[in-house]
């Protein structure tokens, strides 16, 4: 069948600058660039280009530019070229369209419609460069009340529940071995150790090389139960039950069989070459009381020494679900918004299912407080956090901490080209190909991550200081510090904030 799909991108090569050094050929994993010996010139197969920018960055002569191929369909706001392309592609293949990273649709980012406060006159702002500002955060169940024995010396009767101690309220979200390679996980692990936070190994099991970072690791138990064994459960600082993911709520996932090589099979404890399927539900959780059963099974298996988190995608009735989770014995609730990213998801699911994290977070915090159980759980917001401002706004809406995934990958070199599912990531990130993986140096990548978190830490303190707050717990759920801009009455009501100027 002749394809009616034009190339998405066009490679522009300045032949005057190009010295035919062939670096672009080496760097491109999609086979775009090639050398024509007869004509002695560099040519490209535009149809293969994904616009990852690798060749652009590595061309020593800066001779390459990638352009969007603006096919001149007749202008139409409803039948955009993206829509036309998708229909043609499906007509030619009969398959569901796969994509990577998070939803890229406009108007779902509400962080940018929230503005922060600063003190003027009635309250002094604080200079974070000279005065202490605390951003340490503990995640885990807090008791409703501290009980003390008061005969003579004050003795604490309340038992301290297991907590995660974050020196910065930003953790690295679950990214599994298989979706990325070991170098990426190693970089995340080192940065987590250095910054006093945690990384999450996702549901792909845990490589033995990462065991030494166990104190800064959150292990994940997902529906596929890959790599879950007693040692795995005990090695981490916390266990996360993954119910859902913002990029693909309500559906399972799979790592294609061709990616399941010897090492990944070993980690996931499955045969080589088979699809690694994560079923849509956990088959031991068909109802909320079953969640409680799994939470306690994990606590039994680890001697009640670790907090158990439950991660859900932000969907329509998240507040009610979160309330159920809080009563299930879970210590931490992770909410992943509609913009949350993934290594692979059907595009139709990624772009159409779920709700923005801002609304889910605001309603969950509100609901738990109204029910008097907010202290029972910590809330982690995930999916769409791009900057320290997003972190601060999330905490003011009621989060205890946030997860970052895409931001961490971008720090390591990712350009968000959305082709993670091909396994050919030219930046050496979303690939397990041993050769391409070498492009990511864990030492250098971890340095980038550490720099990012340190920079965010400074900015968070600057913002807190401006509000006259010297401890992050005084920001948590402090919606008086937020104002909305360009939001409807109902949006403001759900976020429980006022419009700017009021």
């Amino acid at each position: 069948m002749k394809t009616y799909l034009p190339p998405e991108y066009i490679v522009k090569r300045d032949v005057k600058l190009c010295n035919k050094c062939k670096v672009c050929i080496q760097q491109c994993t999609y086979g775009v660039h090639y050398y024509d010996e007869k004509e002695d010139c560099m040519l490209s197969r535009d149809e293969n280009c994904v616009n990852c920018q690798r060749c652009v960055f590595f061309c020593p002569k800066h001779a390459i530019i990638i352009r969007k191929n603006l096919v001149s369909y007749r202008k139409n706001h409803h039948w955009t070229s993206e829509v036309i392309t998708a229909v043609k592609k499906q007509a030619e293949t009969g398959r569901a369209i796969l994509t990577g990273m998070g939803c890229d649709k406009p108007n779902l980012t509400y962080w940018d419609k929230l503005l922060l406060n600063a003190s003027q006159v009635t309250n002094p702002s604080i200079d974070p460069l000279r005065e202490p500002i605390e951003i340490r955060t503990y995640l885990g169940k807090k008791s409703k009340q501290v009980e003390l024995a008061l005969t003579g010396e004050v003795v604490l009767k309340t038992e301290l529940t297991p907590q995660l101690c974050l020196e910065i309220p930003v953790m690295f979200a679950a990214i599994s071995y298989g979706a990325v390679n070991l170098n990426v996980q190693e970089a995340l692990a080192r940065a987590a150790v250095e910054c006093g936070t945690y990384f999450n190994c996702g549901e792909g099991g845990l490589h033995p090389n990462l065991y030494r970072y166990g104190d800064h690791l959150i292990v994940q138990v997902a529906s596929g139960r890959f790599g879950v064994h007693p040692e795995y459960l005990n090695i981490g600082a916390a266990i996360e039950i993954k119910i859902g993911q913002g990029a693909k709520p309500g559906i399972g996932g799979h790592l294609p069989g061709e990616k399941v090589g010897k090492e990944i099979a070993e980690m996931r404890m499955i045969p080589v070459g088979t699809d690694a399927l994560s079923p849509a539900p956990h088959h031991d959780i068909y109802s909320i009381e079953d969640l409680k059963q799994l939470v306690y099974a994990l606590k039994e298996a680890t001697g009640y020494a670790k907090p158990v988190a439950v991660k859900i995608a932000a969907v329509h009735n998240t507040a009610a679900i979160a309330s159920g989770i809080a009563r299930s014995g879970a210590d931490i609730i992770v909410i992943d918004g509609v913009l949350g990213a993934t290594g692979a998801a059907p595009k139709v699911i990624r772009d159409n299912v779920g709700i923005p994290i801002e609304f889910a977070l605001a309603s969950v915090d509100e609901r738990l407080r109204n029910e008097g159980i907010r202290n029972e759980v910590s809330i982690v917001a995930s999916g769409s956090i791009r900057s320290s401002a997003d972190v601060v706004k999330a905490i003011a809406l009621g989060a205890d901490a946030v997860y970052i995934g895409t931001a961490a990958l971008v720090a390591m070199g990712c350009t968000v080209c959305q082709r993670c599912y091909t396994g050919k990531c030219p930046w050496g990130i979303a690939t397990t190909d041993p050769e391409i993986s070498k492009r990511l140096n864990p030492e250098e990548a971890s340095r980038r991550l550490i720099n990012l978190l340190n920079a965010w830490g400074i900015e968070i303190k600057e913002m807190l200081g401006g509000m006259g707050i010297n401890s992050i717990e005084s920001l948590r759920g402090n919606r008086e510090q937020l104002r909305g801009i360009g939001l409807s009455e109902s949006e403001l009501r759900i976020l429980n904030i006022k419009p700017a100027g009021r």
């Binding site: 503990y138 604490l156 008097g372 005084s474």
Partner: protein
């Protein structure tokens, strides 16, 4: 549910902000004394107020009725009075009901003010299986909320009373005939509201049950504090820092039985770095307090005087952004925004010091000595 805020906060600001003068003095023998000294002291800090609010809380004021809850109530009209009195008759046994004595003074638009000595309806208290205090608190909050500012119970403790309104302290004292009263502890407040017009109900101190809080400064953590307290069943209807401070003390000390000297470890806790350095037991205690009550950390500039029967407590914020001075002389402990206000009533003091950030000072009637705990002693 924020009906009172319509009156207290007509422009729907996040909350009321004000700067103020504070003064408190307690006789540790429990000997009662008249208003002369407290008034002189608070008047000495006239620049800290602006005539838009002043008030006094006097403890030991009603020895003849010390077993009864004394309600001071403001009414904007007669209908409100009828409604509230009907409600009081239903929920309480009203032993005595009378108008608060007042006289001509430089105040504008004073509401009608009445006082009632009541005891809770025992069968209802038993039926609801709550303490008398909780029963009283519930009813006071209910009445205040439903009256939407038409009526306000602004004092509800036993053997204590609050007098407050719009004016300078001298005017309020004059208006309420404070020369007729004696108490062993006086808490005085002169207000400088930033964002609210004068409203009689909005004057300080704020009082609920036995608690009185007078406060200077602003809580930048207000939103976090309020949301934390609401999860424990408190309704923050006044939208003031003072209100959340009062509820915080009530929750911690009355309900959760946290000893007073540990309360600053929650409201103005040491830094995590400091807690990390402590010995294991101490560390666990302070970690538990700070983790559990993280939403009660009071951030921003404030100093406050908190009183309850037999006790007067002073506490500045942990970065010491607002002033608070303590003085001891004779049988008195003084707390004041400015030392001069203490000196003006007691020129020779045994001891006088400016409180450090997060330092709590507690004066207790009939206690062997003043209890004074500093951060350092906890380390």
């Amino acid at each position: 549910m924020r009906p009172l805020s319509q009156v207290n906060n007509p422009y729907k600001d996040d909350k009321n902000i004000d700067a103020c003068a504070l003064f408190g003095m307690i006789n540790i023998e429990g000997t009662r004394f008249p208003f002369k000294d407290p008034l002189k002291a608070i008047s000495n800090m006239r620049e800290r107020g602006n005539g838009l609010g002043a008030g006094f809380a006097v403890y030991g004021i009603y020895p003849d009725h010390k077993e009864l809850y004394a309600f001071h109530v403001m009414y904007l009209n007669r209908q409100a009075k009828r409604r509230v009195e009907k409600s009081l008759e239903e929920e309480f046994r009203v032993v005595l009901s009378e108008e608060l004595p007042t006289k001509e003074a430089k105040v504008s638009n004073p509401p009608l003010t009445w006082r009632y000595f009541v005891e809770p309806n025992t069968s209802k208290v038993n039926e609801e299986k709550i303490t008398e205090d909780d029963y009283v608190m519930k009813n006071v909050m209910r009445i205040n909320v439903s009256e939407r500012g038409k009526a306000l119970i602004f004092s509800s403790g036993k053997n204590m009373g609050v007098f407050k309104g719009v004016g300078y302290p001298e005017d309020i004292a004059e208006y309420f005939c404070l020369e007729e009263y004696e108490g062993y502890m006086w808490i005085c407040h002169s207000r400088y509201p930033t964002n609210t017009p004068g409203w009689w109900g909005g004057a300080h101190p704020f009082s609920l049950l036995d608690w009185t809080v007078a406060h200077n400064g602003e809580l930048s953590s207000y939103g976090a504090n309020r949301r934390f307290l609401e999860a424990y069943g408190y309704k923050c209807t006044m939208q003031t820092d003072t209100e959340v401070l009062t509820y915080a003390f009530d929750l911690l000390v009355r309900k959760h039985k946290i000893p007073l000297e540990l309360v600053p470890k929650i409201l103005t806790p040491p830094f995590w770095d400091e807690i990390d350095q402590m010995q294991q037991k101490q560390k666990q205690l302070l970690t538990a307090l700070r983790q559990t009550y993280s939403g009660l950390l009071m951030n921003g500039p404030f100093s406050l005087i908190v009183a309850r029967q037999g006790q007067m407590i002073g506490l500045p914020d942990r970065m010491k952004l607002r002033p608070l001075t303590a003085g001891m002389g004779g049988s008195f402990l003084y707390l004041s925004s400015e030392e001069a206000a203490i000196r003006v009533v007691q020129p020779t003091l045994d001891k006088v010091w400016n409180l450090t950030g997060g330092e709590i000072v507690v004066g207790m009637v009939k206690a062997p000595a003043f209890v004074r705990l500093q951060l350092a002693t906890m380390r």
